[in-house]
Amino acid sequence: MIVNELAVGAQGQSPAGGRPIGEVILDLQNISLSFGGVKALTDISFNVRKGEIRSIIGPNGAGKSSMLNVINGVYHPQQGSVIFHGEKRRDMDPHKAAAQGIARTFQNIALFKGMSVLDNIMTGRILKMKTNLLQHALFWGAAQREEIEHRKKVEEVIDFLEIQSIRKTPVGRLPYGLQKRVELGRALAAEPSMLLLDEPMAGMNVEEKQDMSRFILDVNDQFGTTIVLIEHDMGVVMDISDRVVVLDYGKKIGDGTPEEVMANPDVIAAYLGTSH
Protein backbone atom coordinates (compact mmCIF):
# COMPACT_ATOMS: atom_id res chain seq x y z
CA MET A 1 0.00 0.00 0.00
CA ILE A 2 2.65 2.45 1.10
CA VAL A 3 4.84 1.38 -1.80
CA ASN A 4 2.04 2.36 -4.13
CA GLU A 5 1.57 5.72 -2.50
CA LEU A 6 5.26 6.43 -2.69
CA ALA A 7 5.25 5.45 -6.33
CA VAL A 8 2.29 7.72 -7.05
CA GLY A 9 4.08 10.57 -5.34
CA ALA A 10 7.18 9.98 -7.39
CA GLN A 11 5.30 10.68 -10.58
CA GLY A 12 3.85 13.93 -9.23
CA GLN A 13 5.48 17.21 -9.97
CA SER A 14 6.98 19.28 -7.21
CA PRO A 15 5.00 22.50 -7.24
CA ALA A 16 7.89 24.79 -6.39
CA GLY A 17 7.24 26.41 -9.76
CA GLY A 18 7.27 30.19 -9.79
CA ARG A 19 6.34 30.86 -6.15
CA PRO A 20 8.78 33.02 -4.27
CA ILE A 21 10.44 31.00 -1.53
CA GLY A 22 12.15 33.41 0.78
CA GLU A 23 14.72 33.32 3.53
CA VAL A 24 14.59 31.03 6.58
CA ILE A 25 11.95 32.33 9.01
CA LEU A 26 11.88 29.46 11.47
CA ASP A 27 15.03 27.70 12.49
CA LEU A 28 14.92 24.77 14.90
CA GLN A 29 18.32 23.90 16.30
CA ASN A 30 19.10 20.66 18.13
CA ILE A 31 15.67 20.32 19.70
CA SER A 32 15.37 17.61 22.36
CA LEU A 33 12.15 17.02 24.22
CA SER A 34 11.38 14.36 26.78
CA PHE A 35 8.52 13.57 29.09
CA GLY A 36 10.00 12.02 32.21
CA GLY A 37 12.15 9.26 30.85
CA VAL A 38 10.47 9.09 27.45
CA LYS A 39 12.34 10.86 24.72
CA ALA A 40 9.89 12.33 22.25
CA LEU A 41 12.41 14.27 20.18
CA THR A 42 16.16 13.84 20.06
CA ASP A 43 18.48 16.46 18.66
CA ILE A 44 16.33 17.58 15.75
CA SER A 45 17.32 20.48 13.54
CA PHE A 46 15.55 21.78 10.49
CA ASN A 47 14.33 25.06 9.13
CA VAL A 48 11.33 26.50 7.36
CA ARG A 49 11.60 29.09 4.60
CA LYS A 50 9.15 31.87 4.03
CA GLY A 51 6.35 30.92 1.69
CA GLU A 52 7.11 27.24 1.38
CA ILE A 53 5.08 24.16 2.17
CA ARG A 54 7.18 22.14 4.55
CA SER A 55 5.97 18.66 5.45
CA ILE A 56 6.84 16.55 8.44
CA ILE A 57 6.30 12.84 7.92
CA GLY A 58 7.07 9.72 9.81
CA PRO A 59 5.47 6.60 11.26
CA ASN A 60 3.09 6.80 14.23
CA GLY A 61 4.80 7.96 17.38
CA ALA A 62 7.70 9.52 15.48
CA GLY A 63 7.24 12.87 17.25
CA LYS A 64 5.56 14.84 14.48
CA SER A 65 2.84 16.36 16.60
CA SER A 66 5.33 17.03 19.40
CA MET A 67 7.35 18.97 16.85
CA LEU A 68 4.35 21.20 16.04
CA ASN A 69 3.68 21.62 19.74
CA VAL A 70 7.24 22.85 20.17
CA ILE A 71 6.83 25.32 17.31
CA ASN A 72 3.72 26.91 18.74
CA GLY A 73 4.82 26.85 22.33
CA VAL A 74 2.62 24.16 23.85
CA TYR A 75 5.70 22.07 24.72
CA HIS A 76 8.98 23.45 25.94
CA PRO A 77 12.02 21.56 24.69
CA GLN A 78 14.68 20.78 27.29
CA GLN A 79 17.45 21.44 24.84
CA GLY A 80 17.93 23.34 21.65
CA SER A 81 16.64 26.65 20.44
CA VAL A 82 13.83 27.91 18.28
CA ILE A 83 14.67 30.95 16.20
CA PHE A 84 11.65 32.66 14.70
CA HIS A 85 12.15 35.67 12.43
CA GLY A 86 15.79 35.85 13.47
CA GLU A 87 14.95 36.07 17.15
CA LYS A 88 15.72 33.38 19.67
CA ARG A 89 12.67 32.49 21.61
CA ARG A 90 12.46 32.39 25.39
CA ASP A 91 9.66 31.22 27.70
CA MET A 92 7.14 30.64 24.97
CA ASP A 93 3.45 29.96 25.38
CA PRO A 94 0.77 29.31 22.75
CA HIS A 95 -0.72 32.74 23.25
CA LYS A 96 2.56 34.44 22.37
CA ALA A 97 3.00 32.19 19.37
CA ALA A 98 -0.45 33.22 18.18
CA ALA A 99 0.44 36.87 18.66
CA GLN A 100 3.53 36.31 16.48
CA GLY A 101 1.36 35.02 13.66
CA ILE A 102 1.46 31.25 14.11
CA ALA A 103 -1.89 29.51 13.74
CA ARG A 104 -2.62 25.81 13.71
CA THR A 105 -5.16 23.06 13.36
CA PHE A 106 -5.25 19.86 15.37
CA GLN A 107 -5.02 16.18 14.60
CA ASN A 108 -8.25 15.50 16.46
CA ILE A 109 -10.63 18.28 15.57
CA ALA A 110 -10.47 20.92 18.26
CA LEU A 111 -13.43 23.09 17.34
CA PHE A 112 -15.62 24.76 19.94
CA LYS A 113 -18.51 22.31 19.81
CA GLY A 114 -21.18 24.51 21.33
CA MET A 115 -20.71 27.37 18.89
CA SER A 116 -21.79 28.00 15.31
CA VAL A 117 -19.38 27.91 12.36
CA LEU A 118 -19.46 31.69 12.25
CA ASP A 119 -18.61 32.07 15.95
CA ASN A 120 -15.86 29.49 15.68
CA ILE A 121 -14.21 31.40 12.87
CA MET A 122 -14.81 34.72 14.64
CA THR A 123 -12.77 33.44 17.61
CA GLY A 124 -9.86 33.21 15.20
CA ARG A 125 -9.83 37.02 15.07
CA ILE A 126 -9.80 37.50 18.81
CA LEU A 127 -6.25 38.83 18.91
CA LYS A 128 -7.16 41.57 16.49
CA MET A 129 -10.17 42.76 18.48
CA LYS A 130 -9.45 45.65 20.78
CA THR A 131 -12.70 46.60 22.50
CA ASN A 132 -13.15 45.75 26.17
CA LEU A 133 -15.74 44.09 28.34
CA LEU A 134 -17.74 47.24 29.14
CA GLN A 135 -17.98 48.15 25.48
CA HIS A 136 -19.16 44.61 24.77
CA ALA A 137 -21.82 44.89 27.47
CA LEU A 138 -23.19 48.01 25.77
CA PHE A 139 -22.67 46.64 22.24
CA TRP A 140 -22.83 50.14 20.90
CA GLY A 141 -20.48 52.26 18.84
CA ALA A 142 -16.95 50.90 18.78
CA ALA A 143 -17.84 47.37 19.85
CA GLN A 144 -20.50 47.02 17.19
CA ARG A 145 -18.33 48.59 14.49
CA GLU A 146 -15.50 46.24 15.38
CA GLU A 147 -17.80 43.25 15.29
CA ILE A 148 -19.01 44.20 11.79
CA GLU A 149 -15.51 44.91 10.51
CA HIS A 150 -14.28 41.50 11.65
CA ARG A 151 -17.41 39.82 10.39
CA LYS A 152 -16.44 41.06 6.91
CA LYS A 153 -13.03 39.43 7.19
CA VAL A 154 -14.61 36.23 8.46
CA GLU A 155 -17.04 36.22 5.54
CA GLU A 156 -14.05 36.39 3.21
CA VAL A 157 -12.67 33.26 4.84
CA ILE A 158 -16.09 31.60 4.59
CA ASP A 159 -16.25 32.45 0.88
CA PHE A 160 -12.71 31.19 0.35
CA LEU A 161 -13.51 27.84 1.95
CA GLU A 162 -16.91 27.59 0.26
CA ILE A 163 -18.86 27.03 3.46
CA GLN A 164 -21.44 29.82 3.09
CA SER A 165 -24.39 27.50 3.49
CA ILE A 166 -23.37 26.28 6.94
CA ARG A 167 -22.28 29.51 8.58
CA LYS A 168 -25.01 29.45 11.22
CA THR A 169 -24.88 25.69 11.88
CA PRO A 170 -23.49 24.48 15.23
CA VAL A 171 -20.22 22.74 14.38
CA GLY A 172 -21.21 19.60 16.28
CA ARG A 173 -23.82 18.85 13.62
CA LEU A 174 -21.38 18.98 10.71
CA PRO A 175 -19.80 15.96 9.05
CA TYR A 176 -16.14 15.30 9.73
CA GLY A 177 -14.76 16.69 6.48
CA LEU A 178 -16.55 20.01 6.91
CA GLN A 179 -15.43 20.27 10.52
CA LYS A 180 -11.84 19.98 9.33
CA ARG A 181 -12.53 22.76 6.87
CA VAL A 182 -14.04 24.98 9.56
CA GLU A 183 -11.01 24.39 11.71
CA LEU A 184 -8.81 25.52 8.83
CA GLY A 185 -11.09 28.57 8.56
CA ARG A 186 -10.61 29.44 12.20
CA ALA A 187 -6.84 29.31 11.75
CA LEU A 188 -7.01 31.38 8.56
CA ALA A 189 -9.18 34.04 10.19
CA ALA A 190 -6.17 34.99 12.30
CA GLU A 191 -4.34 35.92 9.05
CA PRO A 192 -1.29 33.95 10.17
CA SER A 193 2.12 34.24 8.58
CA MET A 194 2.74 30.60 9.44
CA LEU A 195 0.14 27.87 9.47
CA LEU A 196 0.72 24.54 11.20
CA LEU A 197 -1.55 21.77 9.94
CA ASP A 198 -1.68 18.53 11.90
CA GLU A 199 -3.02 15.81 9.60
CA PRO A 200 -5.60 17.97 7.83
CA MET A 201 -6.65 15.05 5.63
CA ALA A 202 -6.83 12.24 8.15
CA GLY A 203 -9.98 10.19 7.74
CA MET A 204 -11.12 11.93 4.58
CA ASN A 205 -12.26 10.37 1.34
CA VAL A 206 -10.55 11.13 -1.97
CA GLU A 207 -12.80 14.07 -2.91
CA GLU A 208 -12.41 15.68 0.48
CA LYS A 209 -8.65 15.23 0.27
CA GLN A 210 -8.60 16.88 -3.12
CA ASP A 211 -10.61 19.82 -1.79
CA MET A 212 -8.36 20.19 1.22
CA SER A 213 -5.20 19.99 -0.90
CA ARG A 214 -6.59 22.69 -3.14
CA PHE A 215 -7.34 24.92 -0.15
CA ILE A 216 -3.85 24.41 1.24
CA LEU A 217 -2.23 25.25 -2.08
CA ASP A 218 -4.52 28.28 -2.50
CA VAL A 219 -3.73 29.60 0.96
CA ASN A 220 -0.05 29.25 0.24
CA ASP A 221 -0.36 30.79 -3.20
CA GLN A 222 -2.79 33.64 -2.58
CA PHE A 223 -1.78 34.76 0.90
CA GLY A 224 1.87 33.68 0.78
CA THR A 225 1.35 31.82 4.04
CA THR A 226 4.14 29.52 5.10
CA ILE A 227 2.75 26.08 5.80
CA VAL A 228 4.10 23.32 8.01
CA LEU A 229 2.16 20.17 7.31
CA ILE A 230 1.94 16.79 8.96
CA GLU A 231 0.27 14.23 6.77
CA HIS A 232 0.19 10.48 6.34
CA ASP A 233 -1.04 10.40 2.77
CA MET A 234 2.27 10.13 0.91
CA GLY A 235 0.70 10.93 -2.43
CA VAL A 236 -0.51 14.29 -1.13
CA VAL A 237 2.68 15.06 0.76
CA MET A 238 4.92 14.35 -2.22
CA ASP A 239 2.66 16.33 -4.53
CA ILE A 240 2.27 19.55 -2.62
CA SER A 241 5.39 19.87 -0.46
CA ASP A 242 8.44 21.91 -1.30
CA ARG A 243 10.58 20.17 1.25
CA VAL A 244 9.98 17.21 3.54
CA VAL A 245 11.54 16.29 6.86
CA VAL A 246 11.23 12.67 8.02
CA LEU A 247 11.16 11.69 11.68
CA ASP A 248 11.35 8.22 13.18
CA TYR A 249 11.40 7.45 16.91
CA GLY A 250 12.05 11.10 17.66
CA LYS A 251 15.07 11.34 15.40
CA LYS A 252 15.46 13.05 12.07
CA ILE A 253 16.24 10.49 9.38
CA GLY A 254 15.72 12.50 6.24
CA ASP A 255 15.35 16.05 4.99
CA GLY A 256 15.06 17.50 1.51
CA THR A 257 12.87 17.73 -1.55
CA PRO A 258 10.25 14.99 -1.99
CA GLU A 259 12.46 13.25 -4.56
CA GLU A 260 15.50 13.28 -2.32
CA VAL A 261 13.54 12.00 0.65
CA MET A 262 12.02 9.15 -1.30
CA ALA A 263 15.40 8.02 -2.50
CA ASN A 264 16.77 8.04 1.04
CA PRO A 265 17.43 4.44 2.18
CA ASP A 266 16.79 5.30 5.86
CA VAL A 267 13.36 6.62 4.99
CA ILE A 268 12.50 3.55 2.98
CA ALA A 269 13.68 1.40 5.85
CA ALA A 270 11.56 3.30 8.34
CA TYR A 271 8.46 2.92 6.22
CA LEU A 272 8.94 -0.59 4.93
CA GLY A 273 11.22 -2.11 7.53
CA THR A 274 14.54 -3.81 6.74
CA SER A 275 15.76 -7.31 7.20
CA HIS A 276 18.52 -7.41 9.75
Binding site: N72, V74, D93, P94, H95, A97, A98, A99, A103, R104, F106, A110, L111, F112, K113, G114, M115, D119, M122, T123, G124, R125, I126, L127, M129, T131, L133, H136, A137, L138, F139, A143, Q144, E147, I148, R151, K152, R186, A187, A190
Partner: protein
Protein backbone atom coordinates in the same frame (compact mmCIF):
# COMPACT_ATOMS: atom_id res chain seq x y z
CA UNK B 1 -48.11 28.75 10.36
CA UNK B 2 -47.65 32.28 11.63
CA UNK B 3 -44.08 31.74 12.68
CA UNK B 4 -42.17 32.06 9.42
CA UNK B 5 -39.04 33.99 8.65
CA UNK B 6 -39.65 33.78 4.91
CA UNK B 7 -39.16 37.12 3.22
CA UNK B 8 -37.09 38.57 6.05
CA UNK B 9 -33.74 39.20 4.42
CA UNK B 10 -30.73 40.64 6.13
CA UNK B 11 -28.97 43.17 3.96
CA UNK B 12 -26.27 44.21 6.41
CA UNK B 13 -24.15 42.51 9.05
CA UNK B 14 -25.68 44.87 11.56
CA UNK B 15 -29.13 43.50 10.77
CA UNK B 16 -27.79 39.97 10.95
CA UNK B 17 -26.29 40.57 14.38
CA UNK B 18 -29.52 41.51 16.11
CA UNK B 19 -30.39 39.64 19.29
CA UNK B 20 -33.72 38.60 17.82
CA UNK B 21 -33.23 38.43 14.07
CA UNK B 22 -36.69 37.04 13.41
CA UNK B 23 -39.41 39.68 13.38
CA UNK B 24 -41.96 37.58 15.25
CA UNK B 25 -39.47 37.00 18.08
CA UNK B 26 -38.77 40.67 18.35
CA UNK B 27 -42.45 41.52 18.57
CA UNK B 28 -43.02 38.80 21.14
CA UNK B 29 -40.16 39.94 23.36
CA UNK B 30 -41.21 43.58 23.25
CA UNK B 31 -44.76 42.57 24.07
CA UNK B 32 -43.52 40.48 26.98
CA UNK B 33 -41.36 43.27 28.40
CA UNK B 34 -44.20 45.77 28.00
CA UNK B 35 -46.60 43.35 29.66
CA UNK B 36 -44.35 42.93 32.69
CA UNK B 37 -43.53 46.63 32.89
CA UNK B 38 -46.93 48.17 32.24
CA UNK B 39 -49.69 45.61 32.73
CA UNK B 40 -48.43 43.41 35.57
CA UNK B 41 -47.99 46.25 38.12
CA UNK B 42 -51.62 47.17 37.53
CA UNK B 43 -53.22 43.75 37.64
CA UNK B 44 -50.99 41.84 40.07
CA UNK B 45 -51.88 41.87 43.76
CA UNK B 46 -49.43 42.26 46.63
CA UNK B 47 -48.97 38.52 47.07
CA UNK B 48 -48.05 37.98 43.43
CA UNK B 49 -45.60 40.86 43.42
CA UNK B 50 -43.95 40.15 46.76
CA UNK B 51 -43.90 36.36 46.85
CA UNK B 52 -43.61 35.41 43.21
CA UNK B 53 -42.58 38.07 40.71
CA UNK B 54 -39.84 39.80 42.71
CA UNK B 55 -38.13 36.55 43.77
CA UNK B 56 -38.40 35.13 40.24
CA UNK B 57 -36.66 38.23 38.88
CA UNK B 58 -33.96 38.19 41.54
CA UNK B 59 -33.27 34.48 41.17
CA UNK B 60 -33.20 34.94 37.40
CA UNK B 61 -30.42 37.46 37.88
CA UNK B 62 -28.49 35.15 40.20
CA UNK B 63 -29.02 32.24 37.80
CA UNK B 64 -27.83 34.46 34.97
CA UNK B 65 -24.68 35.15 36.96
CA UNK B 66 -24.03 31.48 37.55
CA UNK B 67 -24.89 30.71 33.94
CA UNK B 68 -22.20 33.11 32.73
CA UNK B 69 -19.64 31.25 34.82
CA UNK B 70 -20.86 27.66 34.47
CA UNK B 71 -22.91 27.68 31.29
CA UNK B 72 -20.74 29.96 29.17
CA UNK B 73 -17.25 29.76 30.65
CA UNK B 74 -17.58 26.14 31.82
CA UNK B 75 -16.38 26.68 35.40
CA UNK B 76 -18.54 24.86 37.92
CA UNK B 77 -19.30 26.89 41.03
CA UNK B 78 -21.11 26.13 44.27
CA UNK B 79 -20.55 29.55 45.78
CA UNK B 80 -23.28 31.65 44.15
CA UNK B 81 -25.15 32.24 47.42
CA UNK B 82 -21.97 33.43 49.12
CA UNK B 83 -21.37 35.95 46.33
CA UNK B 84 -24.97 37.09 46.78
CA UNK B 85 -24.21 37.56 50.48
CA UNK B 86 -21.17 39.69 49.64
CA UNK B 87 -23.35 41.85 47.40
CA UNK B 88 -26.07 42.20 50.02
CA UNK B 89 -23.76 43.00 52.92
CA UNK B 90 -21.58 45.17 50.71
CA UNK B 91 -24.50 47.32 49.58
CA UNK B 92 -25.78 47.48 53.17
CA UNK B 93 -22.47 48.75 54.49
CA UNK B 94 -22.04 51.31 51.72
CA UNK B 95 -25.53 52.63 52.46
CA UNK B 96 -24.86 52.59 56.18
CA UNK B 97 -21.43 54.13 56.33
CA UNK B 98 -21.47 56.73 53.59
CA UNK B 99 -23.91 59.57 53.99
CA UNK B 100 -26.11 60.27 51.04
CA UNK B 101 -25.01 57.16 49.19
CA UNK B 102 -27.38 56.72 46.24
CA UNK B 103 -29.04 53.30 46.27
CA UNK B 104 -28.15 52.35 42.72
CA UNK B 105 -24.49 53.22 43.30
CA UNK B 106 -24.57 51.13 46.49
CA UNK B 107 -25.82 48.02 44.72
CA UNK B 108 -23.27 48.47 41.95
CA UNK B 109 -20.53 48.82 44.59
CA UNK B 110 -21.92 45.76 46.37
CA UNK B 111 -21.72 43.91 43.07
CA UNK B 112 -18.14 45.08 42.58
CA UNK B 113 -17.21 43.78 46.04
CA UNK B 114 -18.68 40.44 45.05
CA UNK B 115 -16.71 40.58 41.78
CA UNK B 116 -13.46 41.16 43.69
CA UNK B 117 -14.19 38.26 46.05
CA UNK B 118 -15.20 36.14 43.05
CA UNK B 119 -11.90 36.78 41.31
CA UNK B 120 -10.05 35.82 44.49
CA UNK B 121 -11.89 32.52 44.76
CA UNK B 122 -11.63 32.04 41.01
CA UNK B 123 -7.84 31.91 41.16
CA UNK B 124 -7.80 28.12 41.77
CA UNK B 125 -9.61 27.67 38.43
CA UNK B 126 -6.32 28.36 36.70
CA UNK B 127 -5.01 25.06 37.99
CA UNK B 128 -8.01 22.86 38.65
CA UNK B 129 -11.11 21.93 36.73
CA UNK B 130 -14.51 20.32 37.15
CA UNK B 131 -15.32 18.72 40.47
CA UNK B 132 -12.15 19.92 42.11
CA UNK B 133 -12.98 23.49 41.24
CA UNK B 134 -16.49 22.95 42.59
CA UNK B 135 -14.92 21.96 45.89
CA UNK B 136 -12.75 25.07 45.85
CA UNK B 137 -15.82 27.26 45.35
CA UNK B 138 -17.51 25.31 48.15
CA UNK B 139 -14.73 26.68 50.33
CA UNK B 140 -15.80 30.18 49.24
CA UNK B 141 -19.36 29.37 50.23
CA UNK B 142 -18.44 28.35 53.76
CA UNK B 143 -15.67 30.86 54.29
CA UNK B 144 -17.71 33.90 53.27
CA UNK B 145 -20.72 33.00 55.41
CA UNK B 146 -18.37 32.24 58.30
CA UNK B 147 -16.57 35.57 57.88
CA UNK B 148 -19.82 37.53 57.80
CA UNK B 149 -20.90 35.91 61.07
CA UNK B 150 -17.48 36.05 62.69
CA UNK B 151 -16.90 39.75 62.16
CA UNK B 152 -19.92 41.66 63.49
CA UNK B 153 -18.72 44.82 61.75
CA UNK B 154 -20.36 43.54 58.57
CA UNK B 155 -23.79 43.41 60.18
CA UNK B 156 -23.21 46.66 62.10
CA UNK B 157 -22.86 44.80 65.45
CA UNK B 158 -26.46 43.64 65.42
CA UNK B 159 -26.80 41.03 68.14
CA UNK B 160 -28.23 38.26 65.96
CA UNK B 161 -26.26 39.04 62.81
CA UNK B 162 -29.48 40.04 61.08
CA UNK B 163 -29.45 43.22 59.04
CA UNK B 164 -32.49 45.32 58.27
CA UNK B 165 -32.06 47.15 55.02
CA UNK B 166 -32.41 50.90 54.74
CA UNK B 167 -35.20 52.51 52.78
CA UNK B 168 -34.69 52.78 49.07
CA UNK B 169 -34.81 56.32 47.82
CA UNK B 170 -33.82 57.27 44.31
CA UNK B 171 -33.83 60.94 43.38
CA UNK B 172 -36.35 61.70 46.10
CA UNK B 173 -38.74 58.94 45.11
CA UNK B 174 -39.25 56.35 47.85
CA UNK B 175 -39.47 52.76 46.71
CA UNK B 176 -41.47 51.44 49.63
CA UNK B 177 -44.41 49.51 48.20
CA UNK B 178 -44.27 46.14 46.44
CA UNK B 179 -45.22 47.70 43.09
CA UNK B 180 -42.39 50.23 43.06
CA UNK B 181 -39.93 47.62 44.33
CA UNK B 182 -41.05 45.28 41.58
CA UNK B 183 -40.52 47.96 38.95
CA UNK B 184 -37.06 48.73 40.30
CA UNK B 185 -36.11 45.05 40.30
CA UNK B 186 -37.50 44.58 36.81
CA UNK B 187 -35.52 47.54 35.48
CA UNK B 188 -32.24 46.34 36.99
CA UNK B 189 -32.78 42.77 35.80
CA UNK B 190 -33.74 43.76 32.24
CA UNK B 191 -30.73 46.05 31.88
CA UNK B 192 -28.31 43.46 33.24
CA UNK B 193 -29.84 40.68 31.13
CA UNK B 194 -29.39 42.83 28.02
CA UNK B 195 -25.78 43.52 29.01
CA UNK B 196 -25.20 39.79 29.54
CA UNK B 197 -26.62 38.98 26.12
CA UNK B 198 -24.35 41.61 24.59
CA UNK B 199 -21.31 40.19 26.33
CA UNK B 200 -21.99 36.63 25.24
CA UNK B 201 -22.51 37.61 21.60
CA UNK B 202 -19.27 39.58 21.37
CA UNK B 203 -15.68 38.45 21.60
CA UNK B 204 -15.80 38.24 25.42
CA UNK B 205 -18.50 35.60 25.20
CA UNK B 206 -16.75 33.75 22.40
CA UNK B 207 -13.61 33.60 24.53
CA UNK B 208 -15.64 32.17 27.44
CA UNK B 209 -17.23 29.52 25.26
CA UNK B 210 -13.90 28.70 23.62
CA UNK B 211 -12.31 28.08 27.02
CA UNK B 212 -15.32 25.98 27.97
CA UNK B 213 -15.33 23.84 24.84
CA UNK B 214 -11.62 23.28 24.18
CA UNK B 215 -9.14 25.13 26.32
CA UNK B 216 -5.98 24.05 24.46
CA UNK B 217 -7.37 25.21 21.12
CA UNK B 218 -8.51 28.47 22.74
CA UNK B 219 -5.00 29.18 23.93
CA UNK B 220 -3.52 28.34 20.55
CA UNK B 221 -5.65 30.96 18.78
CA UNK B 222 -4.55 33.57 21.25
CA UNK B 223 -7.04 33.53 24.11
CA UNK B 224 -5.49 33.91 27.54
CA UNK B 225 -7.22 31.24 29.62
CA UNK B 226 -6.32 32.88 32.93
CA UNK B 227 -7.69 36.28 31.99
CA UNK B 228 -10.79 34.81 30.40
CA UNK B 229 -11.67 32.66 33.40
CA UNK B 230 -11.09 35.47 35.87
CA UNK B 231 -13.25 37.85 33.83
CA UNK B 232 -15.97 35.20 33.88
CA UNK B 233 -15.62 34.89 37.66
CA UNK B 234 -15.75 38.66 38.06
CA UNK B 235 -18.80 39.20 35.83
CA UNK B 236 -20.60 36.20 37.30
CA UNK B 237 -19.96 37.31 40.86
CA UNK B 238 -21.01 40.85 39.99
CA UNK B 239 -24.36 39.56 38.78
CA UNK B 240 -24.76 37.37 41.86
CA UNK B 241 -23.76 40.30 44.07
CA UNK B 242 -26.34 42.63 42.54
CA UNK B 243 -28.92 39.84 42.85
CA UNK B 244 -27.95 39.49 46.51
CA UNK B 245 -28.35 43.21 47.13
CA UNK B 246 -31.78 43.16 45.50
CA UNK B 247 -32.62 40.03 47.50
CA UNK B 248 -31.96 42.00 50.68
CA UNK B 249 -33.44 45.33 49.63
CA UNK B 250 -36.43 44.63 47.41
CA UNK B 251 -37.40 41.09 48.42
CA UNK B 252 -36.79 40.25 52.09
CA UNK B 253 -35.88 43.49 53.81
CA UNK B 254 -34.05 41.65 56.57
CA UNK B 255 -31.35 39.08 55.87
CA UNK B 256 -28.74 37.19 57.84
CA UNK B 257 -25.54 35.53 56.59
CA UNK B 258 -26.92 32.03 57.20
CA UNK B 259 -29.73 32.83 54.78
CA UNK B 260 -27.13 32.65 51.99
CA UNK B 261 -26.25 29.04 52.65
CA UNK B 262 -25.29 26.10 50.49
CA UNK B 263 -28.96 25.24 49.92
CA UNK B 264 -29.42 28.53 48.12
CA UNK B 265 -26.31 27.89 46.01
CA UNK B 266 -27.68 24.51 45.01
CA UNK B 267 -31.06 26.04 44.26
CA UNK B 268 -29.39 28.45 41.81
CA UNK B 269 -27.41 25.60 40.29
CA UNK B 270 -30.64 23.62 39.79
CA UNK B 271 -32.15 26.67 38.11
CA UNK B 272 -29.51 26.68 35.41
CA UNK B 273 -29.60 22.90 35.01
CA UNK B 274 -33.36 22.87 34.54
CA UNK B 275 -33.51 26.18 32.68
CA UNK B 276 -30.58 25.47 30.41
CA UNK B 277 -26.85 25.99 30.77
CA UNK B 278 -25.37 28.45 28.33
CA UNK B 279 -28.61 30.30 27.74
CA UNK B 280 -29.77 33.72 28.92
CA UNK B 281 -33.41 32.80 28.56
CA UNK B 282 -32.77 29.51 30.34
CA UNK B 283 -31.81 31.43 33.48
CA UNK B 284 -35.23 33.07 33.52
CA UNK B 285 -37.10 29.86 32.74
CA UNK B 286 -35.18 27.92 35.39
CA UNK B 287 -35.72 30.57 38.07
CA UNK B 288 -39.44 30.80 37.28
CA UNK B 289 -39.73 27.04 37.32
CA UNK B 290 -37.99 26.56 40.66
CA UNK B 291 -39.83 29.41 42.37
CA UNK B 292 -43.22 28.46 40.96
CA UNK B 293 -43.10 24.67 41.25
CA UNK B 294 -43.32 24.51 45.09
CA UNK B 295 -46.14 27.06 45.06
CA UNK B 296 -48.02 25.04 42.47
CA UNK B 297 -47.49 21.81 44.40
CA UNK B 298 -48.54 23.47 47.64
CA UNK B 299 -51.75 24.66 46.08
CA UNK B 300 -52.66 21.74 43.91
CA UNK B 301 -51.62 18.56 45.68
CA UNK B 302 -53.83 19.12 48.75
CA UNK B 303 -56.80 20.12 46.65
CA UNK B 304 -56.24 17.13 44.38
CA UNK B 305 -55.77 14.53 47.07
CA UNK B 306 -57.73 16.26 49.77
CA UNK B 307 -57.25 14.92 53.27
CA UNK B 308 -55.56 11.77 52.06
CA UNK B 309 -52.12 13.23 52.55
CA UNK B 310 -50.55 15.17 55.38
CA UNK B 311 -48.79 18.52 55.05
CA UNK B 312 -45.43 16.92 55.67
CA UNK B 313 -46.05 14.59 52.76
CA UNK B 314 -46.62 17.57 50.49
CA UNK B 315 -43.32 19.19 51.45
CA UNK B 316 -41.48 15.91 50.98
CA UNK B 317 -43.29 15.37 47.71
CA UNK B 318 -41.80 18.67 46.53
CA UNK B 319 -38.31 17.36 47.14
CA UNK B 320 -39.11 14.13 45.30
CA UNK B 321 -40.41 16.06 42.31
CA UNK B 322 -37.33 18.29 42.34
CA UNK B 323 -35.00 15.31 42.44
CA UNK B 324 -36.87 13.59 39.65
CA UNK B 325 -36.81 16.74 37.52
CA UNK B 326 -33.06 17.19 37.96
CA UNK B 327 -32.40 13.57 36.98
CA UNK B 328 -34.80 13.88 34.05
CA UNK B 329 -33.10 16.97 32.70
CA UNK B 330 -29.58 15.68 33.22
CA UNK B 331 -30.40 12.54 31.25
CA UNK B 332 -32.93 13.61 28.65
CA UNK B 333 -32.24 17.26 27.96
CA UNK B 334 -28.96 18.53 29.43
CA UNK B 335 -29.61 21.89 27.84
CA UNK B 336 -32.81 22.33 29.78
CA UNK B 337 -36.04 24.17 29.17
CA UNK B 338 -34.33 26.68 26.88
CA UNK B 339 -33.40 23.87 24.50
CA UNK B 340 -36.93 22.47 24.59
CA UNK B 341 -38.19 25.94 23.72
CA UNK B 342 -35.74 26.15 20.83
CA UNK B 343 -36.80 22.73 19.51
CA UNK B 344 -40.40 23.86 19.77
CA UNK B 345 -39.60 26.96 17.72
CA UNK B 346 -37.82 24.94 15.06
CA UNK B 347 -40.84 22.67 14.79
CA UNK B 348 -43.15 25.67 14.65
CA UNK B 349 -41.26 27.05 11.64
CA UNK B 350 -42.38 24.03 9.62
CA UNK B 351 -45.77 23.40 11.14
CA UNK B 352 -48.21 22.23 9.83
CA UNK B 353 -45.96 20.64 7.20
CA UNK B 354 -43.72 17.69 8.07
CA UNK B 355 -40.62 19.10 6.32
Amino acid sequence: MFYREAGQFKASYQADQQIFPIRQDKIAVWALVLFFAAVVPVIADQYWLKAILIPVLIFSLAALGLNILTGYAGQLSLGSAAFMAVGAFGAYNFMLRIDGMPFLVAIVLGGLCAAAVGVLFGLPSLRIKGFYLAVATLAAQFFIVWALVKFPWFSNYSSSGVISTQEINILGFAFDGPTSKYMLTLAVVVILALAAKNMVRSSTGRAWMAVRDMDVAAEVIGIRPMRTKLIAFAVSSFYCGVAGALYAYTYLGTVEPEGFNLDLSFKILFMIIIGGTGSIMGSFLGAAFIVLLPILLDNFVPSLLGDLVSASFVSNFQLIVFGAMIIFFLIVEPHGLARLWQIGKEKLRLWPFPH
